[in-house]
C-alpha cells in the first residue's frame, strides 16, 4: 500500500530516518502491540505508539479512572474520572491518531484469558503493578513465544528488561518467584514520581518500535536500572538461568497459572 500525502506528512520525521524510511513506517503501520495496564507505564507507551502509527494497539485494564491516577497516567484527563481506563485511553489515542486501530480489553487478565489476549500481537508491553501479574505475563509470553517488555517503577527508580524468545533471560530467570504480598515495597505504600512512568514507559514504547522495525539492539540480556536521584542509568548484565522454571533446560511450567496471593489481575488495589 502507498502512503497518502497526509500519512507522508504525519510520519515525515520517521520516514526521514535511514533506519525507518517508508519501509520501516509501513512495518510500524502493520505492527500489533498489546499494552497490559493503562496506568503509569502503559499511558505514555500507548500515546507514543499511537502517535507512531502502530497499526493495531491492544490495551487491557479492568479499572476505571480515579483522581489519584492523574498524577502520572497522562493518557487520562480529569473529565475521564469514573470512566473505564481502556475507553479513556482509546479516545486519547484516536484523537492523536485516528488511523490507529485500538482494541480494548476491559477485563482482568488471568491464566484463563491471557493466551487468547496475547495471541494476535507481535510485541507485549507489561505495564502492570503487581508481581503475580508480572509472572503471569512472563510465563504466557515465554510459552507463546512472544517478545515482551518488562518494566517496574518505584519511588525515584525504574527498571526495564526485554524478552525475546531464544535470546537471553526471561523475567523469571532473574526473579524466580513473586515475593509474598507486602514483602517488598510497592508504589502504593512507598509512592512513585509521576515522570518515572514517562521515562520508563517511553523506553518500553521504544523497545516495541525497535522490535517492529527490526533495528538496533534490544535490551535482551541486561536489566536497565534508572536512579533519578543520582541521575544514573545502568545496564546490569543478566544471564539466562538454566534452571528457570519456564524457559530453562527442564521447565516445570507448561501453562500459565495464577498465583493465589493477591488477585492475579491488573489491579492490586483491592
Amino acid at each position: 500500500m502507498a502512503f497518502t500525502n497526509e500519512q507522508l506528512e504525519r510520519y515525515s520525521r520517521h520516514i526521514l530516518l535511514k533506519e525507518v524510511g517508508a519501509k520501516g513506517q509501513r512495518r510500524l503501520c502493520n505492527g500489533k502491540v498489546l499494552i497490559l495496564g493503562a496506568g503509569g507505564l502503559g499511558a505514555p507507551a500507548a500515546l507514543y505508539l499511537a502517535a507512531a502509527g502502530v497499526g493495531t494497539i491492544g490495551i487491557a485494564d479492568a479499572d476505571v479512572v480515579d483522581l489519584s491516577n492523574l498524577q502520572r497516567q497522562i493518557i487520562h484527563s480529569t473529565p475521564d474520572i469514573g470512566h473505564p481506563k481502556v475507553q479513556s485511553a482509546k479516545e486519547t489515542m484516536q484523537s492523536i491518531n485516528p488511523e490507529v486501530n485500538v482494541v480494548t480489553y476491559h477485563t482482568f487478565v488471568t491464566a484463563d484469558n491471557v493466551m487468547d489476549i496475547i495471541a494476535d500481537y507481535d510485541f507485549i508491553i507489561d505495564g502492570t503493578d503487581n508481581f503475580p501479574a508480572k509472572f503471569l505475563i512472563n510465563d504466557a509470553c515465554v510459552l507463546a513465544g512472544k517478545a515482551f517488555s518488562h518494566a517496574g517503577i518505584l519511588r525515584f527508580g525504574g527498571q526495564l528488561l526485554t524478552y525475546v524468545p531464544g535470546e537471553g533471560p526471561c523475567y523469571r530467570c532473574v526473579f524466580k518467584e513473586p515475593p509474598p504480598p507486602e514483602a517488598v515495597p510497592t508504589c502504593r505504600q512507598a509512592g512513585v514520581i509521576g515522570a518515572m512512568g514517562g521515562v520508563i514507559g517511553s523506553l518500553q514504547a521504544m523497545e516495541a518500535v525497535k522490535f517492529l522495525l527490526g533495528k538496533g539492539d534490544l535490551l535482551t540480556s541486561a536489566l536497565l536500572t534508572y536512579d533519578a536521584l543520582k541521575m544514573e542509568f545502568r545496564k546490569i548484565k543478566v544471564p539466562h538461568r538454566a534452571s528457570c522454571a519456564v524457559c530453562g533446560d527442564h521447565p516445570t511450567i507448561d501453562k500459565p497459572f495464577d498465583y493465589d496471593q493477591a488477585v492475579c489481575d491488573l489491579d492490586a488495589r483491592h
Binding site: G40, S68, Q71, N130, A151, P239
Partner: protein, 73 residues
C-alpha cells in the same frame, strides 16, 4: 580486598561473603534480592557461604512493581 558493588569500587575485608555484603550495604528486603557475581546468579542458599574474591563484581537486583497502581492515603 577490592571488589565492585553496583558499579562502584570498594574495599572490603578479606573473606567477606555475599551475606556480609548484604548487611554492610544495607540491602533492603534481602530475602527477596537477586544477586549476581561476575554476571552469574548466586543462589540465595549459598549467600552465607560464598566468599567473595579480589576483583569480583557484585550486583543487587531488586523487585520493582509497576506502573498501573493507585496510591491511596
Amino acid at each position: 580486598m577490592n571488589i565492585t558493588v553496583a558499579g562502584i569500587r570498594k574495599q572490603v575485608p578479606a573473606d567477606t561473603t555475599i551475606a556480609d555484603l548484604i548487611v554492610s550495604e544495607g540491602v533492603e528486603t534481602p530475602e527477596y534480592v537477586t544477586v549476581s557475581v561476575n554476571d552469574d546468579f548466586a543462589e540465595q542458599s549459598a549467600f552465607a557461604t560464598t566468599a567473595l574474591r579480589e576483583g569480583d563484581s557484585v550486583e543487587f537486583l531488586y523487585f520493582m512493581g509497576g506502573g498501573k497502581l493507585d496510591i491511596r492515603f
